[in-house]
């Protein structure tokens, strides 16, 4: 017997993500989902961003990792509320994991919630967690060929931070190529070349983030 189903396989996750998003809207909190490969500098970018913006905005952080609380420990030192999710074996956060972490926050008091996804350039792009937008990070040592190799993540993101540009002189990373390929995949992508180590370019990223915060709270 053949049974017609026509069901979205990730429908269950999408429904939870939509519920999360409704809750975020109700509470007036802007949510970004930060994705990159491991070691690109997500947590360092968060530390810099928190140092620059935490006096002006109330910010919370959800840290996703397969194991350890190393990243949450770093964020806790910045004096903002943080929850660590250990996924065990899963290579990405999903809507349900984030929903379960939300009880730990007073969402109504937050302006911005940053979700740092598990380091991975493939899977996180498929699983919405209820965010307003996805932001991705590419670091110079990974190579300028990454955009075309991982098109889905580039396509899904609203902003791209290219980190560790202070290392460009020591590598064959071609930032024009990385930028051109990124814009081919996503012509509307906002791109910020930065060095979290030297601070170069970070003002542009802060400006993008605060602009989005102001728009969402308007």
């Amino acid at each position: 017997m053949k049974v017609k189903v026509v069901a979205d396989i990730l429908g269950a996750n999408d429904r939870i993500a939509a519920e999360n998003n409704r809750l975020f809207k109700e509470c007036g909190v802007f949510v970004i989902n930060v994705m990159s490969s491991p070691g690109a500098g997500k947590t360092t970018l968060l530390e810099k961003t928190l140092a620059a913006l935490k006096d002006k905005y109330n910010i919370g952080v959800i840290e996703g990792d397969v194991a350890t609380t190393a990243d949450a420990d770093r964020i806790e030192k910045m004096g903002v509320p943080v929850v660590q999710i250990n996924t065990g074996s899963a290579c990405h956060l999903d809507g349900n994991m984030v929903r379960n972490a939300l009880d730990e926050f007073d969402l109504k008091s937050l302006d911005l919630l940053i979700v740092e996804n598990v380091g991975n350039l493939v899977c996180p792009a498929e699983f919405n967690v209820g965010e307003d937008c996805k932001v991705m990070l590419l670091s110079v040592p990974e190579g300028d060929d990454k955009p075309l190799k991982y098109p889905l993540m580039w396509h899904e993101s609203k902003a791209l931070v290219i980190n560790k540009i202070d290392l460009i002189p020591y590598t064959n990373f071609n930032i024009e190529k990385a930028t051109k390929d990124s814009l081919t995949l996503n012509p509307k992508l906002d791109i910020f070349p930065v060095s979290c180590r030297t601070g170069e370019g970070l003002e542009g990223w802060y400006g993008w983030l605060t602009g989005n915060l102001k728009r969402s709270n308007a």
């Binding site: 017997m1 053949k2 026509v6 396989i9 899963a90 098109p151 012509p187 509307k188």
Partner: protein, 114 residues
């Protein structure tokens, strides 16, 4: 690696349908997988085999219908196949395009023994 999570979701839907129909066995599951669904077919087949073990769907064949990545240009209104993930119109170069297919990740139908 997320193919395991996807197969767990497939199995949840399949089990629910099988229970509804009072099935004793699931023999086949047909999927619609878009070109940009972000799944690797081999990984999906392997994950399904592992996840469905000892369930009503153990041994069921996975039939995969691939859907090409296509878009419609909002400027010139033509539709086209996106090649090389170049997300602008291949006729007029406009970046204002909307994806009309290629993101599907759906179960189409299931073959059951009742």
């Amino acid at each position: 690696m997320h193919e395991v999570s996807i197969c767990e979701s497939i199995l949840d839907i399949v089990k629910e349908q099988a229970a509804k129909e009072g099935a004793t066995k699931v023999t086949s599951v047909r999927l619609k997988v878009g070109e940009m669904a972000g799944v690797v077919e081999d990984a999906l087949r392997f994950a399904f085999e592992v996840v469905s073990k000892d369930s009503i769907a153990e041994g069921a064949s996975l039939v995969i219908d691939n859907v090409p990545l296509t878009a419609r240009c909002k400027s010139c209104n033509r539709t086209f196949h996106i090649v090389g993930y170049a997300f602008c119109c291949k006729h007029c170069d406009s970046p204002e395009i909307e994806i009309i297919s290629g993101r599907e990740l759906q179960i189409e139908d299931i073959d059951l023994e009742v």
